[in-house]
Symmetry: C2
Subunit: 489 residues, 2 copies
């Protein structure tokens, strides 16, 4: 894109001054509308070294109240970030609704650098591009405004700037090794930037190439483009987003009503198998730690189906330093203010660790759907978004095991009554449980749809028949052991 | 995409049979919903030679009432098609709402073939990809379901099939030169197919690669994918589409109220200039015919502003064999049933010809907007869609000249009254003109927005001050002459 790109004609000083004043005033007004209409704005500032990314961000934020924005400068990856999926460090920095986040270079910079320095195979590069496309599209589908700028300067201009900075004691530190490398390999870098931008030039999040030769003119182009982008985002607020076609391979699954629930296990057999399986799982845990395989175990199921006890039997076999259980309740305000997957992205395990989720991101298509906590369009879109999320985890190398803990309505009633009538168990039963029970049929419809639409070949659902809780525990352990053995060989 | 692709496991005969029956029943039901909900469905069947594109289309259509579908087999380009923009032959074949069109290979086939045979430079190939992305996205944004299949067979299977066909007298004609070429250059073709599909794998119109080794299994995969696609399209019907960011360079334009209307020309001067300019235009017309430059002149303006007389002065200078005037009235039913740009795509000039539009595609953002003939989302999206349309024409090599013929409200009243009171002019004034006049202010807002948002550097608006009609005619002629001289050198 850079090679074909033509700079707009630069207006004269006077015009720049007048238009700058107008654009600043506009942005100052828009920040309040952004706040009011709860739009999260992510501004990605990429470009050549010494093109002035930091300084233009500095200029732009002067027009925004400090409570409404955050600037993030992406430095080297921390050890923790290296042990998370590629997108982790970016996803966790996405803005809350009504606020701006400015990223001083981001995922483009990382990917292109890795490519240029031979750290990515062609196949991995292609996967990164795919990830970025999905990431950005998911953001815009969920109401985010994503503005991507590339500050462009010619080879000679870059050389001149590097020269100036190196000449002064006070500024020489600002020239990085990478700036020098870029200038020496300008054409190669230009090629790489271009092809990255061409590949990620989404209709809903296009690239804006900015002629960054002069300071004021750069500021003006960025401000005018940003305010124009905000204008469009403001008119988009009320719109829903079309559903996408499914492109993931689905596994055929039974309806809940078709699952026989008469399976049970004898007490002796149970004790024996439990011990055996837990021992094997313990060993596997050590091996996956050494092989740095991340594992995600997701539990969903009816109230009182026995999720808690089931999780306990898995966790009981694991080294406490290597796993975490995440009980998922209603989102907190700062979580609700972001993409609904944000609170799961930020709870992902490190490589070699196990994360067990007691309730999950599937809340979107169950409770949020049925209680109207999100729009119809939101939950209908979520099947695909979740398949994409799990694909991302799978491509990262994670083992994903999803359990639906199944009982029938009568069994639930029995267990509810028992809880109600047993003083030490009463805390386990709330009015909400009874209310949910009244909606059993609606939930069953939603769960069936969820299981049909999100049982991908890389992350299928497993149904645990849990009228006999012991049976369900052994089955869960067996599945976990099998899945881990598959990847550990 | 083909290299990484893994075939799904083929089910046994019995399962295929059962699932085929179910899929066929589903499609038979869906065709009525498609009709009812007025969804146009475009099925693109691409793939290797001898993979069975034609035969799978033959199987699928057996489940659809013949009134609801059309099969188009894209052969060689006609002479006329060669003189139109690349997308012309595809755009003109898009289905009406509620109907299916099956394309037996289409734009993918054309582009990849041209690329493989060295007929497209890298730059032109990139442009084609960009065109295809916009084309497909515009279709899905406008409610089209676009299903893209690629029938895949391995090299050996293709060789075997070619052998079989060549062996029989009755079938040898079915082996094309291209099939043979493909098989000899299988890897190279695979590479080209893959990269094309990767580049055009839109979220709203993804590629489906079909394992085409066995007939029934191919049919099943296509039917199941198609019915799943239709299901999603049916749930999308009520949704609006988010607006896109503008990525085209815009020219700054005045508001209508800022345009002084006191310009005039003396009668003598007018006659002299008219003659001179018409002579020059006549000469230019010959040259652009020889150089095969297509020209599109678009007129919009207030009722009674003088569009007709203005057009007459342009047309008067042209050779009648080389131009056409298209008066644009309300769309007919078969036009209304398609993408709103369809009736303009099908009226494009051939290379070397001039098309003059008396009212245009801008009806979308004026009369259709103000009279509620389309939804708010439709007309808001249209600015970008129109910029894309004109970009397509510009990239094809067309000169695009857009005139807004401007008068003030008093001048219009004078001319209306004059028409009313002059028997031979009464046909020119209707009740509708008076009704439109009542909405002057709303129209002015819409026209201003249109001029601001669609004055791109490659197709800017020109405002013709037409209180003095003669002045406007001379100005129009001068602009046309200038623009043509620019491209003819």
């Amino acid at each position: 894109m850079l090679q074909e790109w033509k700079a707009m004609e630069k207006p004269d000083e006077e015009e720049i001054k007048a238009r700058l004043a107008a654009a600043k005033e506009k942005l100052a007004k828009q920040q309040l509308l952004i706040k009011e209409q709860k739009i999260p704005v992510l501004v990605l500032m990429e470009g050549w070294g010494t093109a002035g990314k930091g300084s233009v961000i500095g200029q732009v934020i002067q027009n925004i109240d400090p409570r409404f924005f955050k600037v993030e400068s992406m430095g080297e990856k921390s050890e923790e970030e290296r042990r998370k999926p590629f997108l982790y460090r970016y996803f966790r920095r996405i803005p809350e609704e009504g606020k701006f986040v400015f990223l001083d270079s981001g995922w483009m910079d990382e990917i292109v650098k890795d490519e240029l320095h031979g750290k990515l195979s062609d196949e991995d590069y292609a996967k990164r591009i795919e990830s970025v496309r999905r990431f950005e599209r998911q953001l815009t589908d969920n109401g985010y405004l994503v503005m991507k700028f590339f500050l462009h300067i010619p080879e000679k201009e870059q050389a001149k700037r590097i020269g100036h900075l190196e000449h002064e004691k006070d500024t020489v530190w600002r020239v990085s090794k990478n700036d020098l490398w870029q200038n020496r390999h300008y054409e190669k870098c230009e090629e790489a930037f271009s092809s990255y931008m061409k590949n990620t030039n989404l209709p809903s999040a296009p690239w804006y190439i900015i002629d960054a030769k002069s300071r004021k003119w750069t500021e003006l182009q960025v401000l005018e483009t940003l305010t124009q982008g905000i204008e469009i985002a403001l008119s988009n607020q009320k719109l829903a987003v079309p559903l996408l076609q499914n492109v993931f391979p689905l596994v055929r699954m039974p309806l809940l009503a078709e699952v026989p629930l008469d399976k049970e296990i004898e007490a002796d057999e149970y004790r024996k198998e439990l011990k055996e399986l837990q021992n094997r799982l313990g060993e596997l845990h050590n091996r996956l730690y050494r092989k740095k395989v991340p594992v995600i175990i997701a539990y969903e199921g009816w109230d009182a189906a026995g999720k808690g006890g089931n999780i306990k039997r898995i966790a009981g076999a694991l080294d406490p330093r290597g796993y975490e259980v995440h009980p998922i309740a209603s989102p907190e305000p700062h979580e609700k203010a972001r993409h609904y997957l944000w609170r799961f992205w930020t709870r992902l395990p490190k490589t070699g660790h196990i994360a067990i989720f007691d309730r999950t991101w599937y809340g979107r298509v169950m409770v949020e759907r049925l209680e109207g906590f999100c729009s119809e369009n939101d939950w209908m879109r979520a099947y695909n978004e979740i398949n994409e999320f799990e694909k991302e985890l799978h491509d990262w190398g994670a083992v994903i095991i999803k359990f639906w803990v199944q009982i029938d309505k009568d069994t639930q009633l029995e267990r509810f009554n028992e809880r109600q009538n047993t003083p030490e168990k009463q805390w386990k039963i709330t009015d909400e449980d009874w209310r949910n029970r009244d909606k059993w049929d609606a939930y069953e419809t939603a769960v069936n749809e969820m299981i049909q639409k999100t049982s991908t070949s890389y992350a299928p659902w497993h149904i645990l028949e849990s009228v006999d809780k012991k049976y369900a525990r052994i089955k869960a352990l067996k599945i976990v052991v099998e899945e881990l053995e598959k990847v550990l060989g």
